[in-house]
Structure formats: structure tokens, C-alpha cells
């Protein structure tokens, strides 16, 4: 009897492992899909309200699809935009997993990007096999150290990481302004803040230029995928990752279990900063080839939404990064073919995030999409 019971229990647990919980599936897949649908509908209503006619709305959503996945160039643009968002989003997701709300990706991205650019234009004559990894490493280390400051202050003094990282963002903005005017960084013959150009040996090479010279997709996408795998492995397959998750899920329990909370905070922040720094390096080495005050262009803030949308799961973050990249590339095409304002894409993005952040609202709007909540926590 008891043997059969354990057998049944085992079978059940195996089954559960093979087919993850329905509610998890709903959370990870159905809610985001419906959130996107509602956001697109509301986006259409917004366009209607601003006197855009129906054919143009249809045309603009068609352009959104074409511009994001409709051609080789569209795919290239989507992936190019997705790479830095995913990298920075992974960093923020790591923080969320450990219970830290890191708003500082923008600053970490700026600092990392600056370090990568400086490494990238210094050292002429280095072979690419050394120069490029060195520049990437510089970006990751600088971003990690910068975020480490916030982590250390949090661990040592208990200051809240939200405030710390926001303040460090402000410092990073001005630091970049200042650095771009230093004579050894500023491009010769220019009075405006712009860095020297990254040497070819430190550029992330474009992958598909042999097909079409205008395809911008560069090696950063490979780097991004590698980072997704690495973060997944660390988070779910290593002791360190377990400690991250444990201290996020139950800080007190983690402390009683003998985990060193302070050290963990510093390590998490440093890892998050390294990923954001890589995102910055990805931009300056792969897309821009130089740094200017605006090179971060809000990626660090969008990445917060990417991490939230991806439910702080590496694959989720990748999917969310791709979605945001697609919205960016498709949004451009909306402007080109339908003449709809780029601001509308911002509104649609905001709506998507708002709906994903409010799963109960989505469930209320689409009751037939979900299994009725059988096990309410109240019981």
C-alpha cells in the first residue's frame, strides 16, 4: 500500500517536472501574449483618438510586423536592438532574483561602455583575438565595479539600493560628459563631447555584411546568447545561484542557513553591473564605434521593463528583449511606411508592460484564456 503510494507520488512528481505547472505556464506565456494583444488594441484606439484613420492603423501594424520580422534587414535590426536590452535585462533579473531592485543599469552601461571605448581606441596594433575580448572585459569589469559600489554601500551601511543606483546613474551621466572632454579621449579636431573612434581590431564584427553591407547585426548577438546560457547555468545549476535565489526568496532563512548576505549583495550587484557594462560595450563596439553623451539612450531603463516582462528568468528576459527589439525595429518601419509617430510605439510598449505587471487585470479581461483558479491561497 505504502509502496504504491510513493510510486504514485513519484509518478506525479515526474509528471509535474515534465509538464510544468499550468499556472506557471499561464503566467509565463498566456499573460504576456494577452498583454500584447490588449496593448495593440489600446494602441489602435489611441491612434483613432489622435485622428489616424483605420486603413493607416492597419498599415502601421502591418509595418510593425514587416519591420521587425518581415525581411532579413528587419530581423537584423530586431536582433541588433535586442542584444543590449537582453544583456542589461539579464543583470537586472539577477538582482530581482536576489531581492535587489537595481535601477542603475543605465549608469553601469555608461561606465562599462566608456571603459570599452577607451580600451577600444587605445592599443593600436593588437590583434583582434586579444583586443576585442580585452575591450569587452574592460566594459564588464568597469560596469561590475561601478555597480559593486552600490552593492557594498548597501551591504555595509544598509542604504537602499534603489536610491544608491539612481544617484550613481546621475553621477555616471556627468562622469561621461566630463570624460568625453578629456584631451586623450576626445576626438581630435572636435569641440563637442565625442570620443575617438574604436579601432577595427576592437569592433564587434558585423556578421552578415557579405550578404548586404547594410545589415548591422554584429557578433554581440552571440555574446548575448552566451550570456543567457551562462546566467541560466549560474542561477539554476550552481551553489552561488542557489544562494542568490534563496536570499531573494527568504532573506532571513538564507541568513539562518549560514549564507553571507552582505557578500552576496556585493556579488549580485557586481554581476548585474558586469552584464550592464557588457551591454554598453556591445553598443560602442558593435553599433556606434564611439561614445557620445547619449550613447546609452535609455537602454538601462528599458532593461528594467525587459527583466520584469521576462519574469526574471533568463529565457524570459531573452524573449522580452527580442520583443522590445522587434518593437523598436518595427516602430521605425511604422514611421517609414505609415507615417505614424514614433511616440506611439512608446505608448504601446508602456501599455504592454503595464498589462504584464497586472496579470490579474489581464485575467479579468480574458477569463476564458485561463483555468479557473482552483487552489486559491486562502484555502
Amino acid at each position: 500500500m505504502s509502496e504504491r503510494e510513493t510510486e504514485a507520488g513519484l509518478a506525479e512528481s515526474l509528471l509535474r517536472r515534465a509538464a510544468p505547472d499550468r499556472s506557471e505556464f499561464e503566467d509565463l506565456v498566456i499573460v504576456p501574449i494577452f498583454a500584447v494583444v490588449v496593448a495593440l488594441i489600446l494602441g489602435a484606439l489611441t491612434m483613432l483618438a489622435t485622428n489616424v484613420d483605420l486603413p493607416t492603423i492597419g498599415k502601421s501594424y502591418l509595418a510593425l510586423v514587416q519591420g521587425s520580422v518581415g525581411s532579413l534587414n528587419a530581423l537584423s535590426e530586431t536582433l541588433t536592438a535586442a542584444a543590449p536590452l537582453t544583456l542589461a535585462g539579464l543583470g537586472i533579473a539577477l538582482g530581482f532574483r536576489a531581492g535587489l531592485f537595481n535601477i542603475g543599469a543605465e549608469g553601469q552601461l555608461l561606465v562599462g561602455g566608456m571603459a570599452a571605448v577607451i580600451t577600444g581606441f587605445s592599443f593600436p596594433g593588437l590583434p583582434m583575438a586579444i583586443h576585442l575580448p580585452l575591450a569587452l572585459l574592460a566594459g564588464a569589469v568597469a560596469g561590475g565595479l561601478y555597480a559593486g559600489i552600490a552593492g557594498w554601500l548597501r551591504a555595509a551601511t544598509g542604504a537602499h539600493e534603489v536610491i544608491l543606483t539612481i544617484m550613481l546613474n546621475l553621477i555616471a551621466f556627468r562622469l561621461v560628459d566630463y570624460m568625453l572632454r578629456l584631451p586623450w579621449i576626445q576626438r581630435e579636431g572636435r569641440a563637442d563631447p565625442i570620443s575617438r573612434s574604436v579601432l577595427t581590431s576592437a569592433e564587434l564584427p558585423r556578421i552578415f555584411t557579405w550578404l548586404d553591407p547594410n545589415l548591422r547585426l554584429h557578433l554581440g548577438i552571440v555574446l548575448t546568447l552566451a550570456a543567457v546560457l551562462l546566467v541560466h547555468w549560474v542561477l539554476f545549476r550552481t551553489k552561488l545561484g542557489f544562494e542568490f535565489r534563496a536570499s531573494g526568496a527568504g532573506p532571513d532563512a538564507a541568513r539562518y542557513a549560514g549564507m553571507r548576505a552582505g557578500l552576496l549583495i556585493v556579488i549580485v550587484m557586481a554581476c548585474a553591473g558586469a552584464l550592464a557594462g557588457l551591454a554598453g560595450a556591445n553598443q560602442v563596439l558593435g553599433v556606434l564605434g564611439r561614445a557620445t553623451p547619449g550613447f546609452s539612450s535609455g537602454i538601462g531603463f528599458d532593461a528594467i521593463a525587459v527583466a520584469l516582462l521576462g519574469r526574471s528568468h533568463p529565457w524570459g528576459v531573452l524573449a522580452a528583449g527580442l520583443l522590445f527589439g522587434a518593437l523598436e525595429a518595427g516602430g521605425r518601419q511604422m514611421q517609414v511606411s505609415a507615417g505614424v509617430s514614433i511616440d506611439l510605439i512608446g505608448i504601446i510598449q508602456a501599455l504592454i508592460i503595464a498589462f504584464i505587471a497586472a496579470p490579474l487585470l489581464v485575467r479579468a479581461i480574458f477569463p476564458w484564456g485561463f483555468r479557473r483558479a482552483a487552489k486559491t491561497p486562502k484555502e
Binding site: N73, D192, P193, N214, R332, Q335
Partner: protein
Amino acid sequence: MTKTKSGRIVTAAAVAATWAGASLAADFSACQVTDTGGIDDNSFNQTAWKGVEDAVSELGVTGRYLESTAETDYEANINSLLGECDIIITVGFLLGDATKKAAEANPDQMFSIVDFAYDPTIPNVLGQVYATDEAAFLAGYLAAGMTQTGTLGTFGGINIPPVTIFMDGFYRGAMYYNAQNGTEVTVLGWNPDTGEGLFTNNFDSLDDGRAFAQNLYDEGADIVLPVAGPVGLGSAALADELGIDALKIVGVDADLYLTDPEKKHVYLTSITKRMDATVREVIALAQAGDFEGGVLVGTLENGGVDLAPFHDMEDLVPAELKEQVEAIRAGIIDGSIAVDG
């Protein structure tokens, strides 16, 4: 019977539609990529876009634009117009790198860029630059003649040549007034010799425009020249509150009296950079098949730059000062007055 008939009619209509489509495809299209200020900035991007609009109504071309929201957009925006447009017009010095890259990768695509001259020139890019200091020199002279406090102010968006050339001309015009009239008017916010001055480091914050104008006003300036696109609208709002006796604004790029009707009374004049005229000219050249890479310079002489009318302040400006300004204009055009110090 009727079915076949209507079927034929449909076929005929389809053929006609194909013809119409073919002739539409033969149309000339001009596309503009804006800088981050946006197409409705009342100033820089908007003036250039007016050139495209003029070409649309006068030359029968089709026109459209793409707004850049960040520097990372420049290259992507240009790329997404490749092959869609006969000529791509990029607006702004900061798009220089991206335009060059795209032009070199696509030698058969015609490009034109506002505010950038390549050296050496690129065969498929026509740069549009402006001798803005000529008109700014007139504005500096005028402002020096109008100031009650003996102090003028200026500030810029970013320390780049197309911005500082306004400030150079304004400064030197005021100094010329001093030399001619034995006065000691000072200009705050820019020193053409050291290349240093006041900069907001952006082209979009109206708050900065207000704060910078306030600082200059606090230091005694009663006429301020903001050279930062829409940022200057913030300065105009301050002048509106303080009253024009306390603070007047000199507009840039467009005649702001016309493009900023809510605050039109605060503008003494505007240093107009007729990007609309040169953009339209470039489109006309390209449409006629006369496009050539190189540089197109707008001057006082060809109307590419000018001083806007005084409008409501017409009566405030002494007739004698007006005559002097006109004399200097003639002097600059015939080369007897040098505006570059």
C-alpha cells in the same frame, strides 16, 4: 452576360490601376531623417522639413520623414530609408558619421546633409552649410545697440561648429558695435578666442533654456541669444514672464515670431538659417538630375542666412540703428566688413 461584362470592366480598371501605379512609382521621393529634437521643434528640424514640404507642393515630389529619438537611431533610420527614397536628407551635424557610413556603403544613393561639410567631399553627398555668422553679426550689432544694461547673453546646445558659429557672429557683431560707437557692451556666455562658453549639452530641455536665460539675466543681460533649437523656447517663456523691457530674446534658425506665435512678442529678431531654401534647392537639383556631391553654402548674399523682420518691435528699434545694420549687411556682402574677427 453581365458577369463577363463587369469582369472585363474590372480587368480594364486593373490595367488602368497598374498604369497609374507605374507613373506614381516614377515620382521623385525625398526623405528626411531628423535629429533628436523632433520634427516639431519650432526650429532646426522643422525648418529643414519645411524645405521638403515646399518641394512637395512646388515640385510635385513625395516627401516623408523619420524622427530620431536617440543617437543609436541615426544609422538605423538612414538604413531603413535606403532604396525607398531617391534622396535622403539627414538633418544635423551629429548625423555626420552615420551619413558618411551609409553613403560610402551605398554609392548609388543620393544623400544630402544639413550642417555638415565633408573634407574630402563624398561623391554622393551634398553638404549644406551656412555662413550663419554673417547674419549673427548683424544681430550682435543690433542687440548691442538695443541693450539698456550694456550686457548681452548667449548660450548654446552643444559645443559644435554649427552652434558656435552663431555665437561667434553675435559676439563679433557686438564688438564691432563697440568699436564703431565707443561703447563697452559685453557678451556673456561665449568667448570665441578660447572656444568656451555656456552649453546646455542637449537640444531638448526647455527647463535648461529657462534656467540658463535666468542665470544670464541675473548677471545683467537684457537680450539673450539661445542657440539650442527648442531649448530656446524655455528662455522665451522666461522673457514672457519678466516682460520684454527686462529681457528680449533673439531667435535662431527660423523666424521664431512666426513659428512660436504664443511668445512671439519676446523676439527682438531671429537669425534665420534658411535650411528650407537650401533643402528645397537640393531636392530640385536632384530631381532635375543635376545632383553633384560637394558643399552648398548659404550666405547673406544668396539669402541662405538672414535677419528676420522686427515685427512688433519695429518701433522700438531706432531708425538710425536700422540704417547702420543695413549698411553693415551691404558691407558683409561686398566683403568690406569681415565677420570672422
